[in-house]
């Protein structure tokens, strides 16, 4: 058989015939190409081979999405491709989620997230939520168009570590300041890490509204949240010492 036939693009790859290492690499490619069924199949194969749900999540799915995120940031991939990759990851996550819950491992932290009042654009917020969950956070998704009352009620009910607010519109992003100012008035601002994101935002804006950080994409949100949680644990540890 000629080499070009062996590696014909149109030929289906038998995922179960691949070594663990090759399978994970193939899953990264499949995530990149947004192939949900292949990701579900690959996830099941890894579990059948005795991989823990956490390892499959970290090495196959999260790492694959990290690569997608880098290429989106660099302008190689665009929103449609990222959405397809996210759909594929959701397929794998649906298989792993119950198994992860069974382990009883505590989440790294808890996050309440939602788009601000007047803003119905949730693509970025959904990506952040998914990647935060993939990184081991418990995510409470308030959905779209959230008033300050709704955010505060959620903070009171769920007592998260992190509040995440998202906006796509220049006209709706100032509402983040309304929420943060209300938190200050009620004396609860410092009880939470406040992260903000959305296409028209920047670090200067985050600082101006009193957020802890601006997260330019889902990967940065995970890194930032993880870093803030470490600091939080260190402060608590020092207080208890």
């Amino acid at each position: 058989m000629a080499d070009d036939e062996q590696f014909d693009d149109g030929e289906d790859i038998d995922l179960s015939s691949l070594s663990d290492e090759d399978l994970v690499t193939q899953m990264h490619d499949d995530l990149y190409d947004g192939l949900r069924e292949e990701i579900e199949e690959g996830t099941n194969i890894l579990l059948e081979r005795g991989w823990s749900a956490k390892r499959a999540l970290d090495e196959a799915l999260v790492e694959g999405m990290r690569i997608v995120g880098i290429d989106f940031r660099d302008g190689i991939l665009f929103v449609p491709e990222v959405l397809l990759a996210a759909n594929a990851m959701k397929g794998g996550m649906a298989i792993l989620r119950p198994l992860l819950a069974e382990t009883g491992a505590p989440p790294i932290g808890k996050m309440v997230i939602g788009t601000v009042k007047g803003d119905i654009h949730d693509i970025g917020k959904n990506l952040v939520g998914m990647m935060m969950e993939g990184a081991g956070f418990e995510v409470i998704d308030l959905g779209i168009n959230n008033s300050v009352e709704k955010y505060l009620a959620a903070l009171d009910e769920h007592k998260p570590d992190i509040l995440g607010m998202s906006a796509l519109l220049t006209t709706t992003m100032p509402y983040m300041k309304v929420v943060i100012d209300t938190m200050v008035e009620k004396g609860i601002r410092d009880d939470f890490i406040v992260l903000v994101g959305g296409a028209p935002l920047n670090e200067e804006f985050a600082k101006a509204v009193g957020a802890d950080a601006y997260c330019r994409d889902a990967a940065v949100a995970v890194e930032t949240a993880t870093e803030f949680m470490k600091r939080r644990h260190n402060i608590r540890g020092a207080a208890q010492a």
């Binding site: 665009f78 491709e81 220049t170 028209p200």
Partner: protein, 216 residues
Amino acid sequence: MSAARAGPEVSSLLIACGALAKEIVQVIRANGWEHMRIQCLPAELHNRPENIPEAVRAKIRQARGTYDRIFVAYADCGTGGLLDKVLEEEGVTRLPGAHCYQFYAGAEVFEALHDAEPGAFYLTDFLSRHFDRLVIEALGLDRHPELRDQYFGNYRKLVYLAQSKDAVLEAKARQAAATLELEFESRLTGFGELESTLVEFAGEGVEAAPPSAWKA
């Protein structure tokens, strides 16, 4: 060698978003502004608004020495104040508001529209004309129609802000609403604040646009 200057009668330049080119040319012709020229940046820059400020800056610097006065026919356009920062550094002003829907409809009308229905997707004449390329193809919906709900699941209606009475464009806008499975509404705005702002610029000069619609 310095850049060749435009003739004495050509002293003003509008650096415009490509999405406004046709309308601006109409305004220039209707007003007989022979001293005014227009140079456009691609409308597709809106898919990466973070690239707009530096693209505008490059155009401004290219035009220096050639034109006496420069005006930028962009709104904030999703740059979150970064375009204003560049314009402040360059000493150039722009159109008012957050985006073209706002200056076409007028700030108050647009705010009322948005408050009444945050889930409204807006089209202008330009977007109606190029809907397939700039919306359907750019969002990948031609190749992946299954993404429709992720993009438009939270939208309720499509509002066509018409700059002209054009039955063909209105029919296209109506068809766009049907394609996206949204209710349809049409409002004739004319050129709105686009024209009034350009008239000011063509006269004694324009007041600076609000430094930032986003500043808290």
